[in-house]
């Protein structure tokens, strides 16, 4: 049962990250088309900024579960290295629980935020698209992040108990690694 859940979650977050960044690629194509139309024909696409603002929130939210699943958080793991393997595993569990709690609280707060935005009837400036549904989509993505982090936490707890390396996720990263 758990193994199935883990497999499904891994696939889900992979697809979400892929779809998210495909969305970013499409957004880039749309912006380029807008520039070309503006430059050559003086007729820009309407509402590109509108689309960018709402789509970008969903794109980034879609990437977060994969980041958590891959354990690509920016953290400093010097203490665990000094204290030894068991202490390192214990600290991994502590850190995973902290991340899990943070995202649970975030989703907890995102639900009323999406509900209020929907209820307010807020729309984008140019195209008049309702903003609420996009925030519900972002909230669902954050929910998937909670699921991904739950799996990571279970794996870390299992590693603490069995003394084995956790399955699946890669090592935590240093922030320079991105930059």
């Amino acid at each position: 049962m758990y193994r199935q859940l883990r497999g499904l979650t891994e696939k889900l977050v992979h697809v979400m990250a892929l779809v998210g960044f495909l969305g970013l690629l499409l957004l880039a194509l749309m912006v380029t088309l807008d520039i070309l139309l503006r430059f050559f024909f003086g007729t820009p696409l309407q509402g590109v900024n509108d689309i960018s603002a709402v789509v970008m929130a969903v794109v980034i939210a879609a990437c977060i579960p994969k980041c958590l699943m891959m354990k690509q958080n920016i953290s400093i793991e010097v203490l665990g290295g000094v204290l030894g393997a068991r202490a390192n595993r214990f600290l991994s569990v502590f850190a995973s629980l902290a991340v899990l709690l943070f995202f649970v609280l975030m989703v907890w707060e995102f639900v009323p935020f999406a509900r209020d935005t929907t209820a307010s009837g807020e729309k984008t400036w140019v195209l008049g698209w309702p903003v609420g549904p996009w925030w519900w989509a972002a909230t669902v993505m954050m929910g998937a992040a909670v699921l991904a982090q739950f799996i990571v936490t279970v794996e870390d707890i299992r590693a603490l108990i069995t003394g084995q390396t956790p399955q699946g996720p890669g090592p935590a990263m240093d922030s320079d690694a991105v930059l």
Binding site: A28, S52, L79, L91, A172, S175, D176
Partner: protein, 433 residues
């Protein structure tokens, strides 16, 4: 409770959580919410967990980061790094230490289409390292030039970290990109001088190789037009004012994507790998920004930054003395944190101080990036060194750090020059913008 004490406890708690392996963004977020809750109330504090991330997710200035990240990954996958290295190799590779110099120039050139220092290091570790070792270059010079050259990725515009600094300090990204140009060129020149210096001390460090015929040189130049096109489109578009930074990043993604498809065909697996990797690293940055903005809220309500500014003003220290003390602080913090984390954690305190002392935040941003560059090649957390060591386990960390030394000295010289003469950083934005 004294607000400064509240801020101090919060800061210490954040450091404690980070020491306990809690990711930096999460630690900042937790402390920010808790501190805000204690001072203002739990309802408003918890709501920060939705309002701040929501504001970050819809911040179109920040959207430049995933776009540049994707552009860099697509460009690397399309083999543009190989092209720029091949050009430098064809023209100067035959000289003594020429391949190391070609690596420095290649890294600088690739930095113009890739905003990541580690990506640049990893790419040139694959492109240049095997050839240098095959041509009997000493591993110390080969790895040292790549690790140091890789740091150019974060100073040559477009740079992800410069965008991050600009957003967190509310500076104009284009101004920072323009200000980075002279320091980046100075970096390349000093690194080339470091290669020359190494060759003077140890003439066997880099062997001479055969000179390529003129025909082959120009063939390399013709083949390398891709990187020129991409950098001209992105940087030319920004500096000429044709595009906004966001538009330039979007166009850069499309051009890099077209290069990838033209060169490798529509390879679904390759494209999937590029997209997924870029997405995970993007999320990593956003999580850190979520935490940083929540933490900044907490710091703002304690009023600690202005208390610190007033305290420093009361000491009546010479402004440059304070700047030197801050640089020493960053180098000290670099022993425990990586420098990017150190910059983000300390921004809420340091920026008001730098501003109060009358220094330009654009200049300080560039100085900060150079300190981060130095941190990327110095122990104990020299990420570029770690990347190369992971790629070639047979080359020890000691060997790489030995090779780094001339480049480290070059970096210190550059830092001293830029601190002493802020005009070198600030002149170009004044003239061009």
């Amino acid at each position: 409770m004294d607000p400064l004490l509240v801020a101090g406890i919060g800061f210490a708690l954040m450091l404690g959580l980070i020491a306990l392996h809690v990711p930096i963004g999460i630690a900042m977020g937790f402390v920010g919410v808790t501190g805000f809750g204690l001072v203002v109330g739990w309802g408003p504090a918890l709501s920060l967990l939705a309002t701040e991330p929501a504001a970050t997710l819809t911040n179109l200035n920040l959207a430049v980061i995933p776009l540049f990240m994707l552009m860099g990954n697509l460009a690397a996958a399309a083999g543009l790094a190989n092209d720029v290295y091949n050009i430098a190799h064809a023209f100067i590779g035959h000289r003594k230490g020429g391949l190391a110099t070609a690596t420095i120039l290649g890294c600088g050139g690739f930095g113009a289409v890739c905003g990541s220092g580690v990506a640049t290091t990893a790419t040139f570790g694959r492109v240049a390292l095997p050839e240098m070792l095959e041509r009997n270059y000493k591993p110390s010079l080969a790895t040292g030039s790549i690790a140091a050259g890789g740091t150019l990725g974060i100073i040559v515009p477009p740079s992800t970290i410069i965008v991050l600094y600009a957003i967190l300090t509310e500076q104009f990204v284009v101004e920072l990109f323009t200000a980075a140009l002279i320091p980046a060129i100075l970096g390349v020149v000093l690194y080339i001088a470091a290669v020359r210096g190494t060759m003077m001390i140890d003439p066997d460090a880099g062997a001479e190789i055969e000179k390529l015929p003129m025909k082959e040189r120009f063939a390399a130049l013709r083949k390398g037009w891709g990187v020129v096109v991409l950098s001209v489109v992105v940087l030319g578009g920004i500096y000429s004012g044709i595009f906004t930074v966001n538009e330039a990043a979007a166009v850069g993604v499309v051009v890099a994507f077209l290069f990838l498809v033209a060169r490798h065909g529509f390879n679904v697996k390759e494209l999937t790998d590029v997209l997924v990797q870029a997405s995970a690293t993007t999320a990593m940055i956003y999580i850190m920004v979520f935490g940083a903005t929540i933490f900044s809220y907490f710091m703002a309500i304690t009023d600690a930054p202005s208390i610190i500014v007033n305290g420093i003003a009361a000491l009546d220290l010479p402004p440059m003395g304070v700047i030197m003390a801050l640089l020493v602080l960053y180098i000290f913090l670099g022993a425990f944190f990586d420098e990017v984390a150190a910059m983000i954690i300390t921004l809420p305190f340091v920026i008001p101080v730098v501003q109060h002392l009358g220094f330009d935040l654009v200049w300080w941003g560039i100085i900060n990036v150079i300190v981060i560059e130095i941190g990327m090649i110095t122990p104990p957390i020299g990420i570029n060194v770690m990347v190369l060591n992971a790629m070639r386990r047979d080359i020890t960390l000691q060997t790489i750090y030995k090779g780094i030394m001339p480049f480290f000295l070059a970096d210190m010289v550059r830092l001293a020059i830029l601190v002493a003469f802020p005009v070198l950083t600030l002149w170009l934005p004044k003239v061009l913008l």
